[in-house]
């Protein structure tokens, strides 16, 4: 025995794996509901090539319990990459499932052009967790678009965690136009120590030779 060209894999190929050519979307959508996770995963892989599958994939994501299939759906949606996908991800940010929320945020970070139009609403959401997601996504959009949104958020944000995150992003962006906004945070009476620390860090990034203590 030892090294051989003869195929040593003797297991039968499952029906769902037998095809080698790309299949059309018709039967694939039916297979999204198959009881076997592997069959659903294979159908998702093929559906990633059909933009018309975006809505069914988004709908399936809300019901899918198998993590292997979930990941395939997220990957497929990222490949499909559209405003419809981004809007679908925003709805998942409010899911009770932490994994779905975090993956939705990650996908939005990877599609900044489609996420940008949705950011103003996210950053004004009454839920601070949604606003926090918005800041994490804002960190991935072009700086020119992020600056006004970030400045506006820093000026009016009342939740300490969101404000800390926004100030940190401001420091990373490194644009001096944000200096006055961060200084205003530091000058507020009763500013939370964590926020103050984050603001000082950001000031050092923005103005390394003259950060106000």
């Amino acid at each position: 025995m030892g090294l051989t060209r003869q195929d040593v894999w003797k297991r039968p190929v499952a029906e769902g794996e037998r095809r080698t050519a790309l299949r059309g979307p018709g039967g694939l959508l039916d297979q999204l509901e198959d009881p076997q996770p592997q069959v659903r995963r294979w159908s998702v892989r093929d559906l990633a090539n059909f933009p018309e599958a975006t809505r069914p994939l988004l709908d399936r994501l809300h019901r899918e319990t198998d993590p292997v299939v979930q990941e395939a759906i997220f990957s497929a949606l990222l490949l499909l990459g559209s405003q419809q996908v981004a809007t679908g991800m925003v709805s998942l940010l409010q899911s009770d499932d932490i994994g779905l929320r975090n993956n939705a945020c990650l996908l939005l970070q990877e599609m900044p052009a489609f996420a940008l139009p949705l950011l103003p609403a996210l950053l004004q959401d009454p839920d601070p967790l949604i606003r926090l997601f918005g800041v994490r996504i804002l960190d991935h959009v072009p700086a020119a678009a992020a600056l006004p949104l970030l400045a506006n958020l820093i000026d009016r944000e009342s939740h300490d965690s969101v404000l800390m995150a926004a100030v940190a992003v401001a420091g990373q962006l490194g644009d001096a136009t944000l200096l006055s906004h961060i200084q205003a945070v530091m000058d507020k009476p009763g500013v939370e120590p964590g926020v103050l620390f984050a603001a000082r860090q950001a000031m050092e990034h923005l103005n390394p030779h003259d950060s106000t203590p």
């Binding site: 090294l3 051989t4 040593v8 993590p67 990222l78």
Partner: protein, 203 residues
């Protein structure tokens, strides 16, 4: 040229292969998939390391499937002729056992050249990668980081699908699967780290 990673190969033969074989039915062979070809020499070095250092290498039938998207690398691997510095990983004895000196280089033995299964494939191609199934071990070095995130996630999914449950994926030591897929279990061995596809043997 990708330098062979002695520790990865040591991890393979010292820790991984026996664990893989323990989960397989009697008589089932071993399938190893390696990519890219790194100028053609990588699959030879991997195969020789298995033959020389795995005590069960002659008792178990095993396939080595080696793939690349570059036709020139495939052609070079098929010829099996390399300069001595490309074989520096091998001891003199190993080189002489598996290669024959030819001109100012070395040609791999006929058994090696004909034993390797060389094939072209684009790792991000969802149709082409469906032919790669039932793998027990995959080496995929310095390919995923070169891909944009959507394609990198897709490629990681193809690697996951190519592996048998319980199978292992080796990346370059400087790489991590963290940004590509959350489906693999990270396994730490004395010699190094590998990513395992969960299965009945290892949920």
């Amino acid at each position: 040229m990708i330098q062979p990673h002695n520790l990865l190969y040591q991890c393979l033969v010292a820790s991984v292969l026996d664990e893989v074989m323990a989960t397989k039915p009697p008589g089932d062979g071993l399938r190893v998939w390696t990519m890219p070809l790194a100028g053609g020499v990588e699959p030879y070095l991997l195969t020789i390391f298995i033959l020389e250092h795995w005590p069960r290498a002659q008792a178990v039938a095993f396939n080595v499937v080696a793939s690349d998207r570059d036709p020139q690398a495939l052609a070079r691997a098929g010829e099996g002729w390399f300069q001595e510095n490309e074989l520096a990983f091998l001891s003199t004895d190993m080189r002489q056992r598996h290669f024959q000196q030819e001109r100012d280089g070395w040609r791999a033995s006929k058994a090696l050249r004909e034993g390797l299964h060389l094939t072209g494939v684009e790792l991000t191609d969802p149709v082409a990668t469906k032919a790669f199934r039932g793998m027990d071990v995959i080496f995929c070095q310095q390919m995923l980081p070169a891909l944009a995130t959507p394609l990198r996630r897709r490629a990681a999914g193809h690697l996951f699908d190519a592996l048998n449950p319980g199978g292992f994926l080796f990346l370059h030591p400087a790489e991590s699967m963290a940004q590509s897929s959350a489906l693999f279990r990270v396994r730490h061995f004395p010699e190094g780290l590998a990513y395992q596809k969960p299965g009945p043997c290892c949920p």
